[in-house]
C-alpha cells in the first residue's frame, strides 16, 4: 500500500520488538518485574483505547475507565466464583455476610470461562454502543461528550459502591482464584503470563491498525476534521462515531480483564475519576494521533511513575504533575508529534522524489497548522 502504511508497519515492528524482547530483558525475566511490566502494558492498552476514539474520531471520552472497570469486574466475578467453590452454595463470602440467600442470577453465567471472556469484551461494547447511540444521534460533541461520559462513570461507580451485596462495595472483589485456561493455571508472575498480555496487546493494536487503515478509519479522520462536511458527503457520521466509541470500549474491557488478574482484585477505583483522567493524560503524552504512541505513553508514564516513586517517595506526584503541564504546553501532539516533526525535517533534507515531497508538504502543512494554532493565530 502507501508509504504511511509502511511507516506504521515499521513502528509496529519496533514496538513488537520492544515488548517481546526488550522488556523481558529489562525485567531480568524475573517474576516481580515481569508482573509490573505486564501491568504497564495493560495500562498502555487502556491509553490506546482512549487514543482510538479521541485521536481518530475526536471523541474525548473522560469516562474510559468505566468500560475498563466493567471488564475488570467481569473477570473478577469469574475468579471470585472459582475461589468460592468450597463455600456454601458456591456463594462469594461477602454475599453471605450481607445475608444473601442464594447467588444472584446475573452472577450465574460467570461460572463459565468462555462466557466470561466473551462478556468482558461484548458487555463494554454493548454499553458503549447504547451510550454512543444516545449521544451521537443527538449530535453531541466535544466537551459535552466529555461531561456525559464522566457523569455516567461516576454514577455507575456510586452504584457499585452502594450495592455491596452484589459487588463487594468499596473493597471491590477480593480474594480471587487464578484463571484457568485450557487446563493451564495462569501464574501472573510467570513469563508465560507476560507473553499472554503482550500477545493480547499486539493483537489488539494490529486489529486497531487494520481498522484505522480501512475506509472506516478514513471517514473517522474526516469526522475529526469536520463532522458537518462529512455529513454532507452522505456519511452517517453518528454510526461511525458509535463504532469507534464501541471499539475503544471493547479494548478497554480487555485491558480491564487483564488488570484484575494482575492485581488479584477488582476495585471501584478502577472506574474512578483519577484513573480515567490518567488514561487521557497518558494518551496525550504519547501522542493521541497514533495508538501505538499512546500505548507507549501509557507504558512510559507508568515506568516513570514507578521510578520516581522509588526515588522521591513523597513528591513523585508533584513531579508527574509538572511533567504533564510541560508536555501539554510544549508538545501539543505528544512525543509522537515530536518524532513526526523530526522525520519531516530529515526527509525534506534527504528525499527528493516528487511523491514523497508531496506527502511531506502535506504533513508539513498539517504540522504548520498545529503550530499556528499553538501560537494562537
Amino acid at each position: 500500500m502507501n508509504k504511511g502504511f509502511a511507516i506504521d508497519c515499521i513502528g509496529y515492528a519496533l514496538f513488537a520488538v520492544f515488548v517481546v524482547l526488550i522488556i523481558p530483558w529489562l525485567a531480568n525475566y524475573s517474576g516481580y518485574d515481569l508482573n509490573v511490566y505486564a501491568r504497564y502494558l495493560v495500562l498502555g492498552m487502556a491509553a490506546a483505547a482512549v487514543a482510538l476514539s479521541w485521536g481518530t474520531a475526536g471523541i474525548l471520552n473522560l469516562g474510559q475507565a468505566l468500560t475498563f472497570g466493567i471488564g475488570s469486574y467481569i473477570m473478577a466475578m469469574h475468579l471470585k466464583l472459582k475461589a468460592s467453590e468450597a463455600q456454601a452454595g458456591g456463594m462469594p463470602d461477602f454475599m453471605g455476610w450481607t445475608n444473601m440467600e442464594e447467588l444472584p442470577w446475573f452472577w450465574e453465567p460467570f461460572q463459565s470461562v468462555s462466557f466470561t471472556l466473551a462478556a468482558g469484551i461484548l458487555i463494554p461494547v454493548a454499553i458503549a454502543s447504547l451510550i454512543g447511540g444516545f449521544m451521537f444521534r443527538g449530535r453531541i460533541t466535544g466537551v459535552f461528550v466529555a461531561i456525559i461520559t464522566l457523569s455516567l462513570m461516576l454514577a455507575v461507580q456510586l452504584w457499585i459502591i452502594s450495592e455491596q451485596r452484589f459487588t463487594g462495595g468499596q473493597n471491590g472483589l477480593t480474594g480471587l482464584a487464578a484463571l484457568e485456561l485450557f487446563g493451564w493455571s495462569v501464574d501472573v508472575y510467570g513469563l508465560a503470563f507476560y507473553y499472554m498480555v503482550a500477545g493480547c496487546l499486539l493483537v489488539v493494536l494490529t486489529l486497531a491498525l487494520l481498522f484505522l487503515r480501512s475506509k472506516a478509519g478514513l471517514v473517522l479522520r474526516a469526522i475529526r476534521a469536520d463532522p458537518e462536511r462529512t455529513r454532507f458527503f452522505g456519511y452517517d457520521v453518528s454510526t461511525y462515531e458509535v463504532v469507534a466509541f464501541a471499539t475503544s470500549a471493547g479494548i478497554a474491557g480487555i485491558a480491564g480483564m487483564l488488570y484484575a488478574m494482575i492485581l488479584g482484585f477488582a476495585s471501584p477505583t478502577y472506574m474512578g475519576l483519577s484513573l480515567s483522567l490518567a488514561f487521557v493524560i497518558w494518551a496525550a503524552v504519547g501522542g493521541r494521533e497514533s495508538i501505538v504512541a499512546a500505548t507507549l505513553g501509557g507504558i512510559g508514564v507508568n515506568m516513570a511513575e514507578g521510578r520516581l516513586s522509588d526515588l522521591f517517595f513523597d513528591q513523585w506526584t508533584l513531579i508527574l504533575g509538572v511533567i504533564f503541564i510541560v508536555v501539554v504546553l510544549f508538545l501539543p501532539r505528544g512525543l509522537f508529534g515530536l518524532v513526526m516533526d523530526l522525520r519531516i525535517k530529515l526527509e525534506s533534507h534527504f528525499m527528493a522524489n516528487p511523491i514523497s515531497r508531496m506527502n511531506t508538504s502535506l504533513d508539513k502543512h498539517r504540522s504548520e497548522t498545529t503550530a499556528s494554532q499553538r501560537e494562537g493565530k
Binding site: V36, Q170, N171
Partner: protein
C-alpha cells in the same frame, strides 16, 4: 522539616525527569544496590503520604517511624538495626498492591507496616498471602477476617461495642440512628450493633449510608429532627465525620439529648471539627490521647516533641507505634534463628507489651487483646475517659456470626 522535603523534591525534579524517563537498565536496578547493608532488618512502611487518606495515614507513618527510630537509637534488635523501606501508595488500592509487591518481592522485607482503610488492606492481602509475608495492620476494622499473614493491631467490633452499646442505652435510651459511610466497615459495625440492641431491647430507628467523602449533611440533620433518636450511632470517617459534626453543631442540636456515639472519631477528627462542636459527644476506643498512664505520657511527649506541638496522638497511631515494638519483641525472641515472616508471626503470638493504652497481648488468632474505653469529648479537643474496661478484652472477629471462630488454625466453622 516538611518544607525542606518539598524544596528538595522540587530541586530534584529536573534530575528526576532525566533519570526517570531514561530507559537504561543501569538506572532501573532499584535502590537495593545503594542499601546493601547485610545485617539490617528490612521492613516495609506503607502509609499514604498523598491522596484522600493521607490526613490519617501520615500520622500512622509518623508514629511508626518514631518507634523505628527509638528502637534503632537504643541499639536496634539483637544488635541489628531496623531498615525501613518507605513507600507512598497515594491512597489508591492498585498502588497499594503494587508497592506491597515491590516491598515483598524486590526489597525482600520481612514484614510490612501499613494502611488505614479496609480496601487497602484487602488490596495488599493477595500479595502478602501469596508470598507468606507478614502485614502489620494497626487500624480498627470490621472483623470477619482470619488471615494468617496479617497482624491485626486494632479493635474488632466486639471490642468497641460490647460495653459501649449497653452503656449508651442505659444512659440515653435505646432508639439508635445508625449513620455511616457507604462501605464494609460501617455496615459490619451496624450489623453488630443491631444484634446487641436486639439482645438488650433497643431498636434501630434508621440506618443510612452516605458516599465516602460526602460533606453535606443538612438533609440528614432534618431526618434527625424528624426521627428524634436517643443516640446517633456514627461510623462516618474522615471528612464526612468532620462535616457531619459541624453541621450538627451549627444546627443547634443538643448532645445531652441526642449524643453522637462514634466508633471512628479520634483526636485527629476532633481537631478538624473543633473542640467546641465535638464537646459532649462520645467515642469508644482502646486509647485516648488524654489517657493517664506513665507509658502514654512518654509516648505523647516524644511524639509532640518530634512532630510539633499542634499534632495529636490517637488510637490508630498508638497501635501503629505499639506494633513496631511487638515486632521487636518477636524478633528478639527468635534470637539467632532464621528471620522469616512466619517465624516472626509465631514468635509474636502470646507476646505482651506495655502500650500507652495498657498492657496488650497478641492473641493466637493474630488479633490483639485490648483495653476498650469510653471517652467523652471536651471543648479542648481531648477526651475524658469515663469508663475504662476492667480486663483485657479478647478479640472475636466473628463475634456476630454464630458457629464461626477465628483460631490459630485459621477460620473454624462448626
Amino acid at each position: 522539616m516538611k518544607r525542606r522535603d518539598l524544596l528538595k523534591g522540587v530541586a530534584f525534579a529536573g534530575v528526576a525527569g532525566a533519570t526517570g524517563l531514561g530507559g537504561f537498565p543501569g538506572i532501573w536496578t532499584g535502590r537495593n544496590a545503594a542499601w546493601a547493608a547485610g545485617s539490617d532488618i528490612p521492613v516495609g512502611v506503607l502509609f499514604s503520604k498523598t491522596g484522600a487518606v493521607a490526613v490519617v495515614e501520615s500520622t500512622l507513618h509518623d508514629a511508626c517511624m518514631m518507634a523505628i527510630e527509638e528502637i534503632n537509637d537504643n541499639g536496634g534488635i539483637n544488635g541489628r538495626k531496623i531498615r525501613p523501606f518507605v513507600e507512598d501508595p497515594a491512597s489508591d488500592p492498585a498502588t497499594f498492591a503494587d508497592r506491597a509487591n515491590r516491598l515483598v518481592r524486590r526489597d525482600k522485607v520481612v514484614s510490612i507496616f501499613g494502611s488505614y482503610t479496609s480496601s487497602s488492606r484487602q488490596a495488599v492481602l493477595p500479595v502478602v498471602e501469596g508470598q507468606n509475608n507478614l502485614y502489620w495492620y494497626p487500624t480498627l476494622y470490621e472483623g470477619r477476617e482470619c488471615s494468617r499473614n496479617v497482624m491485626y493491631g486494632g479493635a474488632v467490633p466486639n471490642q468497641q461495642q460490647q460495653d459501649f452499646v449497653p452503656w449508651l442505652k442505659e444512659k440515653f435510651g435505646g432508639r439508635f440512628y445508625l449513620l455511616g459511610n457507604n462501605y464494609v466497615y460501617p455496615r459490619e459495625e451496624n450489623n453488630v450493633a443491631r444484634k446487641i440492641l436486639k439482645g438488650i431491647g433497643g431498636e434501630v430507628v434508621n440506618e443510612e449510608y452516605v458516599p465516602m467523602g460526602h460533606d453535606s449533611f443538612s438533609s440528614i440533620v432534618s431526618k434527625l429532627r424528624r426521627d428524634k433518636p436517643d443516640v446517633i450511632f456514627c461510623t462516618l470517617v474522615g471528612d464526612s465525620d468532620v462535616a457531619f459534626q459541624r453541621e450538627y453543631h451549627n444546627a443547634g442540636l443538643d448532645p445531652k439529648t441526642m449524643p453522637v456515639a462514634s466508633l471512628t472519631r479520634s483526636e485527629i477528627e476532633v481537631k478538624a471539627i473543633g473542640g467546641e462542636a465535638a464537646a459532649g459527644h462520645f467515642s469508644s476506643a482502646p486509647y485516648f490521647m488524654g489517657y493517664q498512664s506513665a507509658e502514654n505520657k512518654k509516648f505523647v511527649e516524644a511524639y509532640l516533641k518530634k512532630y510539633g506541638q499542634d499534632q495529636v496522638t490517637h488510637f490508630v497511631n498508638e497501635a501503629a507505634y505499639s506494633q513496631v515494638y511487638q515486632f521487636k519483641n518477636a524478633v528478639e525472641r527468635i534470637g539467632s534463628g532464621e528471620l522469616k515472616p512466619s517465624a516472626i508471626r509465631d514468635a509474636a503470638v502470646g507476646q505482651r507489651f506495655m502500650a500507652p493504652q495498657g498492657e496488650i497481648e497478641i492473641a493466637d488468632n493474630l488479633h490483639s487483646y485490648l483495653w476498650p474505653k469510653i471517652g467523652q469529648w471536651q471543648a479542648d479537643g481531648q477526651a475524658k475517659v469515663l469508663v475504662d474496661s476492667k480486663s483485657r478484652m479478647a478479640p472475636e472477629p466473628y463475634w456476630a456470626y454464630e458457629g464461626q471462630e477465628c483460631t490459630a488454625e485459621g477460620l473454624q466453622k462448626s
